[in-house]
């Protein structure tokens, strides 16, 4: 779109057919509904040159017309919508048209405003009660989100966040945590075809004040606060950003059940041998804060650390991760103390150093990963470090799979055993909760 609108070069964009609705929608909201777009079958990945030549020689699956005829016409024939610059507003109403409870539930489902589980209808009284959970004004803008890089940002107010918090079944005393999540601007409804979810980790006194669970079952459906705060984050994301609809604004190929409550839990600070996560990220221990992670997809797990081969076992887990999804270790306190006992990692930084050094693979294998080819290799060739240096490694040379700063460790669990897991995901930011009380 940039090259067409900003540089004045007639352009045709070629996409795979699974993305026809989403890319047409993106062109619309970017003010270019007449953008020339041609579609070929999905997938491109892994096809032989001969198979891809058949795509070129073939037809656009969305129109049935010749691909190359559409390409040539896209560059040479006048386009619909090639009009002069105009601007127009869009808006959303404050209220939904009054109706019966049953019909309103149906309306919310039909408009894709829910996660397809029953919701609490956000009546004015319920929203007012939620708003009592903060001193912030209802019309204050909290933040903005978008589902993907190419979409436009939508913004939301304190009241809009309250509406979604009510829908999720949250209590007013949870509201500052939900507002802090909203203020991160990190969507829990990313539209990546890799089917991502978010993860939210709460630290500080607010955990106990609102009854969050950091112990047994913390990551499961066993805490009203954990469950509804995370659900509110998801609902706010999909509604605040203007939608998360499969085929239109959500393209996750398999979906991701972590998205139901965005893996929301409290860190077990009291049983951790190390400093709390939010303290590592610039907050005081007495502060309350929430930290968000994006791109939550992969999980590896094991039980404890065996005396003889624990290093090898952890190394295998790390090498089992896709190198584009850096490891975030979620350690039950038993496992955390085993890392201290077995490895002498008195500080979390020492453990992260070791993980970074242990997670290695041959350079040839690393660069051949599809996601590394898609997202890292281009940056390496552009000269970005540390990847540019990694490119100099011989194919058989062992190189780190992850950047050290992308590796994190969090302690959670109730010590019913020393099971622990690795989530492949990306730390985004830590937002103070106290500012939203």
């Amino acid at each position: 779109m940039t090259i067409e609108a900003k540089y004045g070069v007639p352009t045709v964009a070629v996409h795979t057919d699974k993305f026809d609705k989403v890319v047409r929608s993106v062109a619309d909201v970017n003010g270019m509904p007449g953008l020339a777009q041609v579609f070929v079958p999905q997938p491109i990945m892994g096809k032989t040159p001969g198979e891809l030549r058949a795509y070129v020689d073939g037809t656009d699956p969305t129109t049935g017309r010749s691909v190359m005829q559409e390409v040539i016409e896209g560059l040479t024939l006048p386009r619909d919508g090639a009009r002069a610059r105009v601007e127009y507003d869009r808006s959303t109403p404050r209220l939904v048209e009054a109706d019966t409870e049953e019909h309103l539930h149906r309306v919310f489902l039909e408009r894709n405003w829910t996660d397809h589980l029953p919701i609490v209808l956000p009546t004015e009284a319920r929203v007012a009660a939620m708003l009592a959970g903060t001193r912030r004004k209802p019309d204050e803008v909290v933040g903005r989100m978008r589902s993907t890089h190419f979409r436009e940002y939508w913004e939301y107010t304190v009241e809009k966040v309250a509406v979604n918090a009510v829908m999720a079944g949250a209590r007013p005393d949870y509201f500052p945590v939900i507002l802090a999540l909203a203020a991160t601007g990190v969507t829990a409804r990313g539209s990546s075809s890799s089917a991502v979810a978010a993860m939210a980790v709460v630290n500080g006194p607010i955990r106990h004040e609102v009854g969050m669970n950091a112990g047994t079952g913390a990551m499961g459906p066993y805490s009203h606060a954990n469950a509804t705060i995370g659900r509110a984050y998801g609902l706010l994301s999909q509604n605040g950003q203007g939608g998360s609809v499969p085929g239109l604004s959500y393209m996750g190929n398999q979906g991701n059940s972590y998205a139901y409550n965005s893996v929301t839990f409290a860190e077990n600070e009291e049983r951790s041998p190390w400093a709390p996560f939010h303290v590592q990220h610039g907050r005081s221990a007495g502060d309350s804060a929430v930290s968000v992670f994006s791109g939550v997809r992969s999980t590896a797990f094991t039980l404890g650390l065996r005396e003889k081969h624990w290093r090898e076992h952890v190394g295998h887990l790390l090498r089992g991760m896709d190198p584009h999804g850096p490891p975030v270790l979620l350690l039950d306190p038993i496992a955390a103390r085993q890392f201290v006992d077995r490895g002498g990692f008195a500080k979390k930084d020492a453990l992260i150093d070791w993980l970074h050094d242990t997670a290695r693979m041959k350079a040839g294998e690393y660069w051949d990963y599809q996601l590394i080819q898609n997202y890292i290799y281009p940056r390496a060739t552009f000269g970005e470090e540390p990847w540019a240096s990694k490119l100099k490694a011989a194919p058989d040379e062992e190189i780190p799979m992850f950047r050290r700063e992308d590796i994190h460790v969090i302690v959670v669990g109730g010590e019913t055993n020393g099971y622990w897991r690795i989530m492949g995901c990306n730390y985004q930011k830590t937002e103070p909760v106290d500012a939203w009380r």
Partner: protein
């Protein structure tokens, strides 16, 4: 039956600024068309096939296969400037 008044949960969309498209070419004959590889999946292989198609069917069109400088998430003014200076049209692919 009694009715309820409830609040709309959706955020506020930005204003849309419609943008004019570039003027189209009267012909591709004798023109330079950039085939721009967005470096996702195997786009380069696909665009090489499209380049071969032009060589076979429209040999008067000069094609240049050009990779963007980094990932598709990053704007690439250097490449866009080159295309504007040396080319007449662009084909970008492959979006997913």
């Amino acid at each position: 039956m009694s009715t309820l008044t409830v609040l709309d949960p959706t955020g506020y969309p930005p204003k849309i600024a419609a943008k004019a498209l570039a003027p189209r070419l009267d012909t591709l004959n004798g023109r330079t068309v950039y085939l721009v590889d967005c470096r996702f999946d195997d786009s380069d292989i696909f665009l090489a096939q499209m380049q071969a198609w032009f060589a076979e069917h429209m040999p008067s069109v000069k094609t240049v296969l050009k990779r963007i400088s980094s990932v598709y998430l990053v704007d690439d003014p250097k490449t866009w400037e080159e295309i504007k200076a040396r080319g007449h049209a662009a084909i970008l692919g492959v979006g997913h």
